[in-house]
Amino acid sequence: MDKATLAGALGSPSVFGQSQFAFVRGNAFEAKVKADGGTELLRLVHEKLDRSAEPPAAARVPDLSAAGHAGRAARTELALGEAVLAPGEWTLLDHPLLALDVAGSPAFLEPDAVVVHPDGRWTVVEIKSFPLLDGSADPAKVGAAARQAAVYVLALEEVAARLATAPDAPGEAPRVRHRILLVCPKDFSNLPTASAVDVRKQRAVTARQLARLTRIEHIADALPEGICFAPELPREQLTASVESVPASYAPECLSACELAFHCRDRSRAQDAVTTLGRPVRAELGGLTTVEDVLAAARGELGDPGDPTVAALRRAAALRAEALAGAEAPTGAQALAGVPGTAPAEVAPCL
């Protein structure tokens, strides 16, 4: 399903998109890294991950093209099996296609490259166009790359397990390295440099999350009959369809999901405190709507014995006292006394 189109049809268009400049540069850099049969790439793998192995003089670069996603995935699996049967050689798989079961439906993944070492172990290679400046890169971007690579590692482990159970299996399953190679431009140049990134933690987290995901059939089963998400439907009908799938919005969604603005509108309409962030929700305990919290702070709602309510009332009293004591800010903001402030009688008489 194309969530971006759906979001547009719902009246809350997504803000994602890729600039062609970034696209061109990313592709140019990847092409440069993989040029000459991956000589530079294999040199980096050897240098950063496997110094004890034979330096890669020549590498096998099998052709992975096939018709359709399933065909390409099968071709990749075949190539990996062949590579395992050729010990002592380096093999570079350029853009292999892997299948991973996500909540009961197969998802196809395309790592930038997978390298099979002479000892038969596999390494995921991720090529990114953000720079490695003086040996360090933006931690947020490295984290995202590591999470992405962890999914590839999981998918490769499934392939490895399948290869081991095949009739003509060479014995034990080939091992997938948990240190991936992140290739980035060096400083301000276009020269590739690389760093080994340990993705054990991300791998464990992703594996756990995948295992916990609600099966897609269960979600589909829970939906009423006749639900359709076609973007050409009238907006009301579409909104009702999307409503029928439960979603729990948090501000982090904005950077990840095309439908986030739609969910944010719904969440705001429900007056949910989570729109201000998950920590806020955690801080407020059982009070989940904005009006409930404010009413509790005003002393109109809630049990004064509840520590959350008691803390809220104290906070409201202290805040009202401080604002009353200070002169109301002048200029554009004459805010003191706006309804919603805790009534004055709650303030302690100091």
């Binding site: 809350s12 803000v15 998109g17 890729q18 600039s19 062609q20 400049f21 970034a22 061109v24 540069r25 990313g26 720079p131 400046l133 003086d134 431009p185 400083d187 301000f188 140049s189 276009n190 501000p251 982090e252 904005l254 603005f261 705001r268 405190v273 729109t275 201000l276 962030g277 806020v280 801080e283 904005v290 919290v293 404010l294 702070a297 004064p304 014995g305 520590p307 008691a310 803390a311 809220l312 009332r313 104290r314 906070a315 009293a317 202290l318 805040r319 401080a322 004591g325 200070a326 002169e327 800010p329 200029g331 554009a332 903001q333 805010l335 706006v338 919603g340 302690p348 008489c349 100091l350």
Partner: protein, 569 residues
């Protein structure tokens, strides 16, 4: 985020307008700041596309790079930027005042006072968002090691003369921005979200347009509506009405407007290079200039709204009265500025790529110390911040109900009066905990002695407090207030404090130095002037655990980045 801020955000949701998160302005604003609104090219590590820069809100200087992949054009951009930034910095560096600094005398090893210069004002560079601060640091890193033709005639692609100096200054600004409470390089989103709580998450507050929409929505509209429009509304061309504050641009702008314009520029340039004679060249030069003008217009159309937004933010902030201790922190910024000015004048090499162990430890210690200082000073300047500290049990306010004179038991007895304070706050006090109050701007220390039994005091029983206590004191906590002194009830009540200092040398305390009955006071459990840790060794005495003293390689200035064909900066 404290519960008080959370409450302010919830009030903002409910009222549709941002609510104050501070009653005074906690950051210094220069009379004449230099506003810098940069744009970069997507996918390139901070390759500039253009910028608006200047000190006059009506006449910003527009800089544009018509082809961001062209090194000469990028250098021209940086040279132009240097032409704006460096004279502004020099303007601040000239006026100095005499100041004193204690230094270690190299001969005697004693601390002595030395007369030094302190710049009377420091430059202030304001960028729209945190990403802008990062870009300033990145530009500094990319330019400070460059070699000009004068420094190194052999080097390929020499940088224009003042660009390496610009890089050193931008690096200094970028480093200083990491010190809590500093104002040399503030981001407008940080400034605004420090002083107002909006009805959206702090993540969404990073959008300058949305943040301003909450603080000062157009008449008749709620902040939420206006913010949503700032985030999403697009015109007929599919362009955002409120372009992102940068430095990254909107992909729709890149793909639909910028890319075709750059392509036209490239074509015009190729055509000019292929011109046969003067007449043809003149004509094609005209086409090239037109193509360049078009890109300049595009850059201006994306930066001008942000430029105006930054100035609007400045207006809003200027309407707040400045906090009492803001000036003191600005003086530290001036010291930092003067220090770097002197290093540049002394001909020291540019800041290294990586700090040595002692410099790094010093920077970390400075940031920690300044963070503690900032927290203490903001609380003392602003009752709303202090309310947060009182809520968390780090401070308490109350009325003095009794003062009993007492003396220390030394040979020359000094005054140690016992003061009883009634408070509704619930400070985390243990036996002999030190508390501080501000007395004429200086902290006066007191020691917590214990809780007093409520029934023994006459008067001040429940006049007005009763209701509050009954409401707030959850069952079980109220009665504890009547416990014996020394046992710590959580619900405040009557606290006995012993004043320890700032009462003069005589047997009788100086007038006004001891609280009187009826005074309303605020004591803090944190120090007003936090001390830093122990002094760190000089670089020459770096212990071997940290790499030992800097060797010969540290003495030679760092080499410039090797230049390759495909450099992006």
């Amino acid at each position: 985020m404290s519960l008080i801020t959370t409450l302010a955000r919830l009030e903002a949701v409910s009222t549709g307008r941002a609510r104050p998160a501070a009653t005074v302005r906690h950051r210094h604003l220069s009379e004449r700041p230099l506003v810098f609104v940069p744009l970069t090219t997507a996918g390139e590590a901070g390759a500039p596309l253009g910028a608006l820069v200047g000190t006059d809100r009506d006449a910003p200087r527009l800089l544009a790079v018509p082809q961001p992949r062209d090194r000469d054009l990028r250098f021209a951009f940086l040279a132009e930027l240097a032409d704006v930034v460096l004279p502004y910095i020099d303007g601040c560096a000239e006026a100095v005042e005499a100041a004193e600094r204690s230094e270690t005398d190299p001969e005697t090893g004693k601390r002595v006072k030395v007369e030094v210069e302190l710049c009377a004002d420091a430059p202030q560079l304001i960028v729209p968002s945190r990403a802008g601060v990062d870009l300033v640091r990145l530009l500094g890193r990319s330019t400070r090691f460059r070699r000009t033709a004068e420094q190194d005639p052999e080097a390929p692609f020499p940088a224009p003369p003042r660009v390496p100096l610009l890089g050193r200054w931008l690096t200094h600004f970028g480093e200083r921005a990491r010190v809590p409470g500093s104002s040399l390089l503030p981001a407008m989103t940080d400034l605004l979200s420090r002083h107002w709580a909006t009805g959206q998450s702090s993540l969404e507050d990073q959008h300058l347009g949305a943040l301003l929409a909450w603080i000062d929505p157009p008449p008749g509209r709620s902040g939420a509506e206006a913010a949503r429009e700032a985030e999403l509304a697009r015109d007929a061309d599919g362009q955002l009405r409120c372009p992102p504050a940068g430095p990254a641009t909107d992909p729709a702008f890149d793909n639909r407007l910028l890319a075709p314009a750059i392509e036209r520029y490239d074509r015009a340039r190729t055509a000019l290079a292929a011109a046969q004679d003067g007449l043809e060249a003149d004509e094609r030069l005209g086409a090239l200039t037109a193509a360049e003008q078009e890109i300049r217009k595009l850059v201006e159309s994306r930066t001008r709204p942000t430029w105006d937004a930054v100035w609007r933010g400045l207006d809003l902030l200027r309407a707040l009265p400045e906090g009492a201790r803001v000036e003191e922190r600005w003086t530290r910024d001036r010291w930092s500025f003067t220090g770097h000015r002197d290093r540049v004048l002394a001909g020291e090499p540019p800041q290294p790529r990586r700090d040595d162990a002692v410099t790094a430890a010093n920077k970390l210690a400075t940031r920690e110390r300044e963070q503690a200082r900032l927290e203490a000073q903001e609380a003392l300047d602003d009752p709303l911040v202090m309310a947060g500290r009182r809520l968390s049990g780090e401070a308490f306010a109350g009325e003095v109900t009794d003062v009993v004179m007492a003396y220390s038991e030394s040979k020359r007895p000094s005054p140690r009066p016992l003061v009883t304070v009634r408070t509704d706050d619930r400070p985390h006090l243990g036996a002999r905990t030190r508390v501080y109050r501000s007395l004429g701007g200086k902290p006066q220390a007191a020691e917590f002695i214990g809780y007093e039994d409520e029934d023994e005091t006459d008067g001040h029983q429940t006049d007005g407090h009763g209701r509050d206590c009954a409401e707030e004191g959850p069952a079980g906590e109220g009665p504890a207030g009547e416990g014996l002194s020394g046992k710590g009830p959580a619900a405040g009540g009557l606290l006995v404090l012993r004043i320890m200092d700032k009462m003069g040398r005589g047997k009788e305390p100086e007038a006004g130095s001891v609280p009187e009955k009826g005074d309303r006071l605020c004591f803090t459990l944190f120090e007003h002037e936090p001390r830093g840790g122990a002094k760190l060794p000089d670089p020459e005495e770096t212990p071997w655990t940290h790499g030992g003293p800097p060797g010969a390689e540290a003495a030679t200035p760092e080499a410039a980045d090797p230049v390759t064909e495909e450099d992006v900066l």
